[in-house]
């Protein structure tokens, strides 16, 4: 669907020639996010610099019934920042300012295109940080983090993005600018801030974000424990939590991933281990010391092959290096992979790990695991060779089977990446028709014309369509009806 000349002229008039990308080569960069299975080139990419410009773009598009797709850094993993129906993609890369730092009230207000880590960089020397730390934090934008309600290794202790967002400004699908929440506690009315976080651009475009900042902890201690298998490592995870310890991070890598990491960045993890646990504790020094001892003891009780505690910042960085480079390192063992993001209750980790081994064998595919064990958020990389016919299909089949197994154990289809185009079809596994219908109607309140990031988040399902009526309770028969 090409844009009409008047829409193009309107956008160019609004943003100037530098603010509108129309060439095919220019738009090609924007056809997918990091999940390149889903491609859809927008008809135009616009680069606004202010809330007013974003609002004007939405109004132009709404007038012409043109889809609007927001994009931050394009580091999403769900087929979110892609334009399957064409339309106008709104890139936030020119809205990167920190609008206000208010350390006395522990918060900051930023534009959506600001890179996550830049905010922490701006306040770290004064002792503060922004807690959500998705692995992409060096490149992903805070607006994107808000859109997907991103997590990260440290959300075990600190919570995900939504727990740190105090207020938002959003241009919603009706073209209105709505400011919700803010610095002050306890606003009356519906918690629209909480409702909007994680909307994946389907309610509208976030143009400003007020976030909570936290004080840096006094001490950080990182330990590595290796185990013979994933099952024993998973049992150690449960034992740590059962002991009343909530580490800042509790990450697990399996043997396939250990091999890939060691091949890529040098021998950072012990060879021959079936799994390693990366455990980070932070907080007051005495608390960290006491908990580190306890955690080491628990790992040994659970037959850890080896427990190492980093003695200084250099050693700590080395332990994390493997974790941080894992996604890149996997290129050494496979040409392509599917990345799963399902969640199980953490006590079900040993069970799902056994199930995963069975699925892997059944489909003759390698699974490499690097994941947030502490909150049961799995990230198996299902490796396949895209040059071999049928292997992608087998990988997709294995992926679906694993997802079903997670849901059967009481889990969730996504822990931190979001839904996008990739998992929309899976939502009915987790939600009944009435639940899906509720979400569809909620979306329609913000976006009555269905133009905001269409074809994302909700499935194509009767319950997500007009006129659907969920089943109502049966009323007693009698004379009153």
């Amino acid at each position: 669907m090409a844009l009409s000349a008047s829409v193009v002229a309107g956008l160019q008039h609004l943003l100037g020639p530098a603010g509108v990308v129309l060439t095919r080569e220019g738009r090609l960069t924007y056809e997918s996010d990091m999940l390149t299975l889903y491609k859809g080139m927008p008809d135009a990419v616009v680069l606004p610099t202010s809330t007013e410009e974003v609002q004007a773009v939405v109004r132009i598009c709404r007038e012409a019934r043109v889809p609007v797709v927001p994009r931050g850094s394009g580091t999403g993993l769900i087929g979110g920042a892609t334009a399957p129906q064409g339309g106008v993609m709104v890139s936030m890369t020119r809205m990167t300012r920190i609008l206000e730092l208010d350390l006395a009230n522990r918060c900051a207000t930023v534009q959506p295109g600001l890179i996550n880590l830049w905010l922490t960089n701006a306040v770290r020397d004064r002792g503060w940080f922004f807690a959500p730390d998705p692995s992409s934090q060096m490149v992903s934008s805070i607006g994107g983090n808000v859109a997907t309600n991103a997590g990260g290794p440290h959300c075990l202790k600190y919570g995900i993005t939504t727990n740190h967002v105090l207020g938002l400004e959003m241009v919603i699908g009706t073209g209105e600018v709505v400011s919700v929440g803010g610095k002050a506690a306890d606003r009356p009315g519906y918690d629209l801030t909480g409702t909007m976080v994680g909307n994946e651009g389907t309610f509208g475009l976030v143009t400003a974000i007020t976030v909570r900042l936290l004080h840096l902890p006094e001490a950080v201690k990182t330990a590595l424990a290796s185990f013979a298998s994933l099952v024993e490592a998973s049992e150690a995870v449960s034992a740590i939590i059962a002991a009343g310890i909530i580490p800042a991070a509790l990450e697990m890598l399996d043997d396939a991933m250990i091999g890939a990491v060691n091949a890529a960045v040098g021998k950072v993890y012990p060879d021959g281990a079936g799994a390693v646990l990366l455990i980070e504790l932070d907080g007051p020094r005495a608390e960290v010391e006491a908990q580190a001892e306890r955690v080491a003891a628990i790992c040994r009780e659970r037959q850890a092959l080896m427990v190492t505690v980093a003695r200084d910042e250099t050693e700590r960085a080395l332990l994390w290096k493997g974790r941080k480079e894992a996604a890149g390192a996997v290129g050494r063992i496979t040409a392509a992979y599917l990345l799963q993001d399902a969640v199980v209750p953490r006590s079900k980790l040993p069970q799902i790990m056994r199930e995963m081994v069975a699925i892997s064998k059944r489909h003759r595919l390698l699974f490499a695991n690097v994941f947030h064990a502490g909150d049961g958020n799995l990230h198996p990389l299902i490796c396949y060779d895209d040059r071999k016919p049928g292997e992608l299909e087998r990988a997709q089949q294995a992926n679906e089977e694993l997802l079903h197994a997670c849901i059967a154990l009481g889990g969730s289809v996504s822990g931190e990446h979001g839904i996008g185009m990739d998992k929309a079809k899976n939502l009915p596994l987790q939600y009944a028709e009435a639940d899906l219908n509720f979400m569809f109607r909620l979306r329609r309140v913000f976006d009555p014309d269905g133009l905001m990031n269409p074809a994302k988040l909700l499935p194509s399902h009767p319950a997500c369509g007009e006129g659907f009526r969920p089943a109502r309770p049966t009323l007693p028969a009698g004379t009153w009806v």
């Binding site: 522990r106 506690a185 909480g194 004080h215 909530i246 007051p284 005495a286 939502l427 009698g478 009806v481």
Partner: protein, 428 residues
């Protein structure tokens, strides 16, 4: 709608919950006598009650323990009170996952007793928390001192089952501690006063009970010194568990020595870390300058009783931590008899006003709203006689664009005005 007689409707309601659990009349809600009060035994019964009310255009008022029935505009219509107190089961407790699913009528105290055996807690402690229902705490977004460390219900509610206005049972969220599958429906339900759905089941995130907690009372000659101390604590590595400011009147209500302002500070973790931070806390207090006194473990019970037992008008003040002095000053200026306490580190305060004279509260409230409004804050009348709330807006102003969205949400999900009609912001 089929217009039917009251006896026939009563018969229908009775057929749903059984004769012994359907009463004509019942305890008044905020001064309004209900036509019926029904106490369902199952969520299916609750949903059927709402469905029938929807078809017959009855106004449904959900109630839990009844602790917060004075929140909001006085109800204009109360046809059916849906009493959730029989829905009090702990459905599924997964200590290894630190999650629990409960029915909405379960009290925070009953749940705490259940969790204690595994040394776990649900850290929600609004005044009088033990007797309050968890559904009520969710619907009113009630909070207490522990929010300093753990946040509020919005941070702890993972999943929620509710009956929509037409009785359709609906689930939002997940039963695991981390999930971003679909919209965050639980956030929409927290603090919504049951106006979008009657809350029936909650899945909650739990925390380990800390090994050890110590509490200190820091007394200051002026509120400014207290604020300096709060700022210094926030800008330090001390991990406070609770950080409450108490003015002289609240100190007196707790039978404590009166000062201009005091902070109740607690640290909770392993014992050596409590001891290690104690020195830091004391040094920060003394630098403010203030005087420190170690409190016994019973302090927080005394404090809870003092706030919960208060008989009068309660205002919930939302501001920012750096405006503590201005806020305390503004309250004193407009309501000289008021007592103030609350979460100093978050700017979430309560003002307690005794013997409020209906005729004189309105102008002070407006002046107070103007002051805290400078930082985007507000004042909600959490509790007051009906006569008073009839003459003022208990919620205060909500920005027009945001209110328009709230209204659109209410209209989408409850077009007939079945659920708590007229009581929420903007009389939604």
């Amino acid at each position: 709608m089929v217009v039917v007689t009251t006896p026939a409707l009563g018969g229908a309601l009775r057929a749903i919950v059984g004769a012994e659990h359907l009463h004509e009349g019942g305890a008044p809600v905020d001064g309004a006598a209900p036509r019926w009060t029904a106490a369902p035994a199952t969520i299916e019964q609750a949903a059927a009650l709402v469905a029938l009310a929807h078809d017959e255009r009855l106004a449904v008022v959900p109630r839990g323990s009844g602790a917060a029935l004075e929140l909001g505009h006085p109800p204009t219509r109360v046809d059916l009170v849906l009493d959730t107190r029989r829905l009090d089961a702990v459905l599924e407790y997964n200590p290894d996952d630190l999650t629990v699913s409960v029915q909405a009528g379960c009290t925070a105290g009953a749940l705490a007793a259940r969790l204690a055996g595994r040394r776990q807690i649900l850290p929600l402690d609004p005044p009088g928390w033990a007797a309050r229902s968890l559904g009520g705490i969710a619907a009113t977004q009630a909070s207490g001192p522990l929010r300093q460390r753990y946040g509020t219900m919005r941070d702890l509610l993972l999943g929620v089952r509710f009956a929509q206005a037409d009785g359709v049972l609906t689930w939002g969220g997940a039963k695991v501690v981390k999930s971003v599958s679909g919209y965050d429906v639980p956030k929409l339900m927290v603090g919504a006063l049951g106006t979008l759905g009657v809350l029936l089941e909650l899945t909650l995130r739990l925390h380990p009970a800390p090994d050890h907690e110590a509490t200190w009372l820091a007394s200051f000659r002026t509120p400014a010194h207290a604020q300096d101390c709060v700022a210094a604590l926030l800008d330090s590595t001390v991990q406070t568990n609770r950080l409450e400011v108490l003015d002289g009147r609240v100190l007196a209500a707790c039978s404590l020595p009166v000062s201009a302002a005091a902070l109740a500070i607690s640290i909770a973790t392993v014992e050596p870390a409590v001891r290690a931070q104690e020195g830091l806390v004391k040094a920060i207090v003394q630098r403010a300058p203030g005087a420190v006194q170690t409190m016994g473990a019973s302090f927080w019970k005394t404090y809870d009783r003092a706030l919960a037992g208060f008989d009068g008008v309660t205002l919930r003040i939302g501001t920012v931590p750096a405006r503590l002095v201005e806020t305390l000053g503004a309250v004193q200026a407009v309501l000289p008899g008021a007592a103030v306490a609350g979460a100093a580190g978050l700017g979430a305060l309560r003002a307690l006003v005794t013997h409020a004279d209906v005729s004189v509260l309105l102008p002070p409230l407006e002046r107070l709203r103007a002051t805290v409004g400078e930082v985007g804050g507000g004042v909600t009348v959490e509790r007051a006689p009906r006569a008073l709330r009839e003459r003022l807006d208990p919620w205060g102003p909500v920005p027009a664009a945001a209110l328009a969205v709230m209204r659109a949400i209410k209209t989408e999900f409850d077009p007939r005005g079945v659920l708590n009609p007229g009581r929420f912001v903007g009389r939604l």
